[in-house]
């Protein structure tokens, strides 16, 4: 029987959201429409419209060694073209941001090819070939995986995930890369992800309300959300993994 991924345990809405986002068979809901140019501006790796800088010649133009693995694995578009490896990095507020670092890394690993996710507590980075990155980044920011107030695109000086929200409901950002236009109820990026001022504002959509956030979040949180303790199946699963690893190392057969 072919292996069927289960994407994790749990009976709560948090667990269900985690499974949905990881599952490449689930179509992520699109909730905003940032353009290719917007994404390129915020990431700040190249000027919109500029050619992709390359790290090596296109694969078709360089002699590839006779390698069975290369024959089996089709290169991504960025790899084919010889693009540089570039990144996008997110910070996600523990106050009910839709995605959080490990969830991001898991879902990127399931959904995208040729990615190298890095997971920390206050930020999550994903690196890959530049044109592939732009395609993936567009999905990461335009869908239910992202909220413009509780998620931030931050290359450096990222902190904010664990701090109280600002009075306007935005996650704290020391560099104030994005601001809330209260009148338009619109978050606007005024700096790129490493804090360099942009020549023009980039609209990142309206902040989602609390009800939406709590329905879409992937974090357990006992203050107004789903308490971890209440998802007994989840807890039991973690205990089971731990017990099996303790007893049998990394070959946990019962």
């Amino acid at each position: 029987m072919a292996y069927k991924a289960q994407f994790g345990p749990g009976s709560s809405i948090v667990a269900e959201n985690r499974r949905k986002y990881m599952n490449p068979g689930y179509k992520l809901e699109k909730i905003r429409d940032m353009s290719d140019e917007d994404i390129v501006l915020i990431m700040g790796h190249r000027a919109p419209g500029a050619a992709y800088p390359t790290a090596h010649p296109p694969l078709a133009e360089q002699q590839e060694p006779a390698c069975p693995i290369r024959k089996m694995v089709a290169p991504t578009e960025g790899a084919k073209a010889g693009d540089r490896i570039r990144y996008i990095q997110f910070a996600d507020s523990m106050f009910f941001a839709p995605t959080h670092p490990y969830e991001r890394s898991y879902l990127e690993s399931y959904r995208y090819r040729g990615v190298d996710p890095g997971t920390l507590s206050g930020r999550q980075i994903v690196e890959c070939r530049e044109r592939d990155l732009e395609k993936y980044a567009k999905e990461l920011v335009n869908t239910e995986l992202f909220d413009s107030a509780r998620c931030g695109i931050r290359g450096a000086t990222v902190h904010g995930h664990s701090l109280r929200l600002a009075e306007d409901g935005m996650m704290f950002d020391m560099l104030q890369r994005c601001i809330l236009d209260k009148k338009a109820n619109m978050v606007k990026y005024v700096k790129n992800q490493i804090g360099e001022p942009l020549d023009k504002e980039v609209k990142a959509g309206k902040p989602m309300d609390d009800k939406w956030l709590k329905a879409h979040t992937t974090i357990f949180h006992s203050l107004g959300g789903v308490a971890y303790r209440d998802d007994a199946e989840y807890i039991e699963y973690v205990q089971r993994i731990h017990s099996l690893r303790t007893k049998y190392g990394f070959m946990p057969v019962e």
Partner: protein, 568 residues
């Protein structure tokens, strides 16, 4: 929502939070004033001092307004103060960097400059090989000579340079033994008196373990170990020991038999505070990476002073251990930079880990009837996987819920590594104190890490992906190629070598297993007694109080050079 299993109405961290934030600690929004450096007295002092220093030396230095993030200085949110846990003393974070804290420096100095040397073999050699009489009187005389020589004075030479006593006054040697008759015969100034320093039950255990053997606790000058390295301690002490024996017992300095004495007196029965590390670490012996966790738990003396509070005793080890292993060892020896302090101090400030740990104490008392305030080996719980899982899960969930219920608490521990270390420490300590088994405590630590990671979908920095996600497999169930009991592990144990926020807590988990049983020591009775000595500059029974004193600049260290430098 399902509730925590224990109700604790007096949260130990609330007072600190109220002092720090002056706002409702349960609110999840605030106004970020972005006041920058001016909100911190210490940062203002740094700015003023930086300007003066730059003028004096003609080279620019501390200039945060220009140099930090292209003009955006620290303090875009509140620059918090911190209460050193249990002390009531609020300090600025900067004051807990070891460069800014003389007590922290002295704690490490006092460990590195210490060596324990047995006297029995030397005495046998003196009697049997050299025909000398050894009596309490001769030992007293020898100790007089040694306390003259050890700081750097001559004893048999005709013409010799010496060290200034005012620079090396922290250097001395005392002896100790389980032989009460011998103790009564020696001059009190030279004795670490076990009966006077330890509670009776602990003293009896220690005396029985040490027996009639006589040990010297030697502390070479702070200034020497600072100028040289940890390996110097044995060399400096050995040279002065040899010369003192020659001087005190009037021996020939060139006779072949003296070589036997030299070996017996200097090297045959020596305990260094830390093992030498593998060559790739490029360190000598007596450097922090070689200290076994069991030995470190013995150096810290909270269990001697607070024998009925194994939680507090363990928390003192956490503080001392995070300072030494995170701030000094990993943060400077191994990594460089200043950032590790921010991680480490989370474990010993604002009574947060204290609250989580005492929650664990209430839980093990309520559920498993562990009378933790009366440490004994009889009521310890069997360290089964189910029990480890139960204690660790409850303590981890409670801690996570506290962070959630009090957003200022989360803001206080703003980094995932801080929270990960603190939560796992509470789980590890609760379990080791309940079971009396250090590896059960370590196993609880690793379950907490997995629970934490899954609950919040985040943990610490990249390093936590290594040891904390493979730790389940090297604790509790030990296979020879993977494990060692916690007592015998140390900062250089595989996977432990480069990860802040762990090693001090591991040492405390080891200590907790023994403090919870009422053991007088964790791994080595000799080390336990040596660090009970009140003549040491640093009080190893109260590391947190000492750090607080250092932070408010009331701690007087050793090794100062004011005698030999121009007055400022």
């Amino acid at each position: 929502m399902a509730k925590a299993k224990i109700e604790r109405t007096q949260k130990l961290f609330l007072k600190s939070l109220k002092e720090k934030f002056a706002e409702d600690p349960t609110a999840n929004q605030t106004v970020y004033a972005r006041e920058g450096l001016k909100q911190s007295a210490r940062k203002r002092e740094f700015v003023d001092s930086g300007k003066k220093m730059a003028m004096a030396r003609g080279i620019s230095m501390y200039d945060p307004v220009r140099c930090h993030l292209g003009g955006i200085p620290l303090g875009q949110r509140q620059l918090m103060t911190y209460e050193v846990s249990t002390t009531g003393v609020f300090v600025e974070g900067d004051d807990l960097h070891f460069v800014n804290n003389a007590a922290m420096q002295q704690m490490w100095d006092d460990i590195r400059r210490t060596i324990l040397v047995n006297m029995d073999l030397a005495h046998q050699t003196l009697q049997k090989r050299l025909g000398k009489e050894v009596t309490p009187e001769t030992i007293n005389e020898y100790l007089h000579v040694l306390n003259h020589a050890m700081p750097g004075a001559a004893v048999v030479q005709e013409h010799m340079v010496e060290t200034h006593p005012g620079l090396v006054d922290d250097c001395y040697c005392k002896v100790y033994t389980g032989d009460e008759e011998m103790v009564d015969s020696l001059e009190p100034q030279f004795v670490v008196n076990i009966d006077k320093l330890f509670p009776a039950k602990q003293a009896a255990q220690l005396k029985a373990a040490i027996g009639k053997s006589l040990w010297q606790a030697i502390h070479i000058p702070t200034v020497v170990s600072r100028t040289c390295d940890g390996g110097t301690t044995s060399r400096w002490s050995a040279m002065q020991l040899g010369m003192s024996f020659i001087g005190a017992y009037r021996m020939c300095a060139g006779e072949a038999a003296v070589a036997d004495l030299a070996y017996a007196a200097k090297h045959a029965g020596v305990i260094q505070m830390a093992d030498i590390l593998p060559a790739r670490r490029a360190r000598g012996p007596n450097e922090p990476g070689g200290i076994k966790f069991g030995h470190f738990a013995d150096m810290i003396q909270g269990d001697r002073k607070y024998p009925h509070d194994p939680a507090r005793a363990s928390l003192e080890v956490v503080a001392a251990g995070t300072m030494l292993f995170d701030q000094i060892w990993l943060g400077s020896y191994m990594s460089g930079g200043v950032g590790f302090t921010q991680y480490a101090t989370a474990a010993y400030t604002d009574n947060i880990l204290d609250e989580y740990t005492y929650y664990g104490m209430d839980y093990i008392k309520d559920k498993y009837k562990v009378d933790w305030k009366n440490p004994n080996e009889k009521d310890k719980v069997k360290p089964t996987q189910d029990i480890v899982n139960d204690i660790a899960t409850e303590v981890a969930l409670n801690g996570m819920e506290q962070y959630e219920q009090f957003p200022t608490l989360m803001e206080d521990h703003f980094g995932g590594s801080q929270r990960a270390g603190v939560l796992a420490a509470a789980c590890g300590l609760s379990t080791s104190i309940a079971t009396g088994n250090s590896n059960a405590g370590l196993n609880a630590w690793y379950l907490c890490m997995l629970l934490h990671k899954e609950g919040w979908s985040r943990l610490g920095f990249f390093g936590y992906d290594l040891q904390d996600q493979c730790g389940s497999a090297n604790s509790l169930a030990i296979r020879p190629d993977e494990g060692a009991i916690g007592e015998l592990r140390g900062p250089n144990y595989p996977n432990y070598a480069m990860n802040v926020g762990h090693q001090g807590e591991y040492a405390a988990i080891v200590g907790g297993a023994h403090y919870g049983r009422g053991d007088a020591w964790s791994l080595n009775a000799l080390i336990k007694v040596a660090f009970a000595d009140p003549s040491l500059k640093f009080d190893f029974a109260e590391p947190r109080r000492e750090f607080a004193k250092g932070a408010i600049r009331e701690f007087m260290p050793a090794g100062e050079r004011s005698l030999i430098i121009p007055a400022r």
